[in-house]
């Protein structure tokens, strides 16, 4: 399941309903913030790019999507230093990592749903 080890911890800590809600919100955040990154890249807006990358890093960090979080933090550092350079390239990298993270999440949720609920008799 990729780098989503922390999601297993969340499954322990949260009810199934809350877990599903948090991961749904994460999916929405990824889509929204990826869109914001794309807009900032097209507008050559390094501040907006950095802001969106920061938001995405926070969302990824919350659910333990470590690879996505690290990719975003690299972008935050580089994007602030080189406003015109490589934003499209960095965007592509983030989108790819984000797709992987969401794929991992889907797989995790499917596996988790197949398990008996917490506290259920074996």
């Amino acid at each position: 399941m990729g780098d989503l080890g922390f999601a297993a911890q969340l499954a322990e800590d949260l009810s199934a309903e809350d877990l599903r809600l948090v991961l749904t919100v994460f999916r929405t955040d990824v889509q929204r913030l990826s869109g914001a990154l794309g807009e900032a890249a097209r507008a050559a807006d390094p501040a907006g790019f950095r802001r969106a990358a920061h938001g995405l890093a926070g969302a990824a960090g919350a659910v333990g999507a470590g690879l996505l979080e690290q990719a975003c933090r690299r972008v935050m550092a580089q994007g602030g230093l080189a406003p015109d350079a490589r934003m499209e390239e960095m965007l592509a990298e983030i989108e790819a990592v984000a797709r992987d993270a969401l794929g991992d999440l889907d797989a995790f949720l499917a596996r988790h749903a197949a398990l008996p609920p917490r506290g259920a008799a074996p």
């Binding site: 922390f6 911890q9 969340l10 322990e12 800590d13 949260l14 009810s15 809350d18 809600l21 948090v22 919100v25 994460f26 929405t28 955040d29 920061h54 938001g55 890093a57 926070g58 969302a59 960090g61 919350a62 659910v63 333990g64 979080e69 933090r73």
Partner: protein, 515 residues
């Protein structure tokens, strides 16, 4: 799990916010989510969270500035900074800015629970500490004004004993506020919702005292035209304050002892036994043990009543309280008398602070009223202060004060009417909030006895010029009330200012010695 708390989550990333909410709700806490520092400040003002889970990077201004603003507004809450960076620098910076702890993303429920529990415990201790400090530093306590060490000790004793039913015995010189202390015991106690009944044993004729305490039935004695409840019944469920207990006749002390022991009594003229639940508070300006040794006070009653002693210090032992109280009275009386006084000159304050105040707070109250009624201005100057007070310290003869026109009004300490004074709890039918009412006919009897046996040496029936009779009456009322002008004026049913002006004019006319 810790007790449920209010936790404000300040986070602009929805995933993080929803996760925090879910974990906190799962821990049993009440949660509110905001996305900006400005919204957090508003929520902190309105909702008063116990803890804030704070992201540092926020869309309007950052979390460090938010902590500064919370601090500046005096909003006490435990801030836990949520950081993606576990470096020591981030932690140090957060703690310097006022956070009690930090937590690194991503965090598990157990980590959040421990961090939050620690933060809430720290906050609880801080609140407790602030409360203790406030109690130690306070300069107001119910009706009292003053923050001196001996008064703090008295406040603490009153507060400690209030919750129990133990009898309280208040000692202190005349004018130190014994009745205020008794009221404070009542108001701080679980009995505050019932009556506080104050009875001045020294001001009630001996043959009426039993009736005042226990009531009487119709025909019990000449003039008892109807059944009448006594102070004991009025104080049922509340507090009975027996002021000047040392003045109580020995035969009445026997009956009081039985009442204290059993909680039951019979109204005068009745064989019916009545039972009440009363908390006793007594006061005297004498040494109660000396009274016992002299045979004027029953030893068994002494031990029944002298359970928790409260000693009120004389004003001369209260340091800066003198000026604090003087300023309070000046504000109060200037408002009542429509004067412009804003404060005292340095010389006037020096004089007030240096005087020994043998008549204690009551005398200070009278002196300030005297000044306010006779003068006007922005500041009280030294020459406005009565000469008796301007004497060097240690020359404190209070006898000069009535001649110098001792006046006051309203809230004098121990300003008890000659017989029962009932302080009813707020909202009770038939009485205003905290209403005070005379409970007997003892008021008029108190005045007339004072006049007819007055030191002027003439019987009340002798025909003399009206002005002479007026002077005698006023002076007699002042003597009877230990120069307490508000009480004297109340007995005479005139305004205290009238008494003061009369005294002033008599002094100017040579009818009284200057003081």
């Amino acid at each position: 799990m810790t007790a449920p708390a209010r936790v404000l989550v300040v986070e602009d990333t929805p995933t993080q916010a929803q996760l925090a909410r879910a974990l906190l709700v799962g821990l049993g806490h009440e949660v509110e989510l905001v996305e900006s520092a400005g919204a957090a400040l508003a929520a902190a003002r309105d909702w008063r969270p116990d803890a804030i889970l704070l992201d540092i990077e926020l869309p309007d201004y950052n979390g460090f500035e938010l902590m500064q603003r919370l601090h500046a507004e005096g909003i006490e809450t435990s801030v836990i900074v949520v950081t993606a960076n576990a470096s020591i620098n981030a932690a140090v910076e957060a703690m310097r800015a006022g956070a009690v702890d930090f937590i690194v993303k991503p965090y598990a429920k157990a980590r959040l629970a421990v961090t939050l529990a620690n933060a809430l415990e720290k906050r609880a201790l801080a609140v407790q500490l602030a409360s203790v400090k406030a109690r130690l530093d306070r300069d107001r306590f119910f009706g009292f004004i003053g923050g001196s060490a001996p008064m703090q000790a008295a406040y603490r004793t009153i507060e400690s004993v209030a919750a129990s039913k133990a009898s309280v015995f208040i000692t202190g010189e005349s004018g130190t506020g014994k009745e205020l202390a008794a009221e404070a015991v009542h108001r701080a106690s679980p009995r505050a919702g019932r009556n506080f009944v104050a009875l001045n044993c020294g001001a009630i004729p001996r043959d009426l005292l039993e009736s005042e305490v226990f009531g009487h039935v119709r025909g019990a004695f000449t003039g008892a035209s109807a059944d009448r409840e006594g102070a004991a019944r009025l104080a049922d469920g509340g507090t009975l304050f027996l002021d000047e207990i040392g003045e109580m006749p020995l035969e009445m002390q026997v009956k009081l002892l039985r009442f204290v022991q059993t909680g039951s009594y019979s109204p005068v003229g009745s064989s019916r036994v009545e039972r009440v639940d009363v908390r006793f508070v007594c006061a005297t300006n004498r040494d109660p043990m000396l009274e016992v040794q002299a045979g004027r006070f029953r030893e068994d009653l002494y031990y029944r009543l002298y359970v928790v002693p409260v000693e009120l210090p004389p004003l001369r032992a209260r340091g800066e309280d003198v000026l604090m109280i003087a300023r309070h009275f000046l504000t109060q009386f200037a408002r009542e008398e429509k004067r412009g006084f804003q404060g005292y000159s340095a010389a006037a304050e020096q004089a007030l602070a240096a005087y020994s105040w043998p008549g204690n707070v009551r005398q200070l109250q009278n002196v300030v009223r005297n000044i306010v009624v006779l003068h006007d201005g922005e500041r009280v100057e030294l020459d406005m202060i009565p000469r008796a007070v301007r004497r060097p310290a240690g020359d404190g003869e209070w006898v000069a004060m009535p001649a110098a026109a001792v006046v006051s009004a309203g809230a004098a300490p121990e300003a008890a009417a000659p017989s029962a004074r009932v302080l009813r709890p707020a909202g009770e039918a038939g009485a205003g909030s905290g209403a005070i009412s005379g409970a007997s006919s003892g008021v008029s009897s108190g005045v007339s006895s004072g006049v007819s046996s007055g030191a002027d040496g003439e019987g009340a029936t002798a025909v003399v010029p009206l002005a002479v009779m007026e002077r005698r009456l006023i002076l007699a009322a002042l003597r009877q009330t230990n120069q307490d002008v508000p009480r004297a004026a109340a007995l005479l049913e005139i305004n205290p200012s009238t008494v003061y002006r009369k005294l002033q004019s008599w002094r100017a006319g040579g009818l009284l010695p200057n003081g």
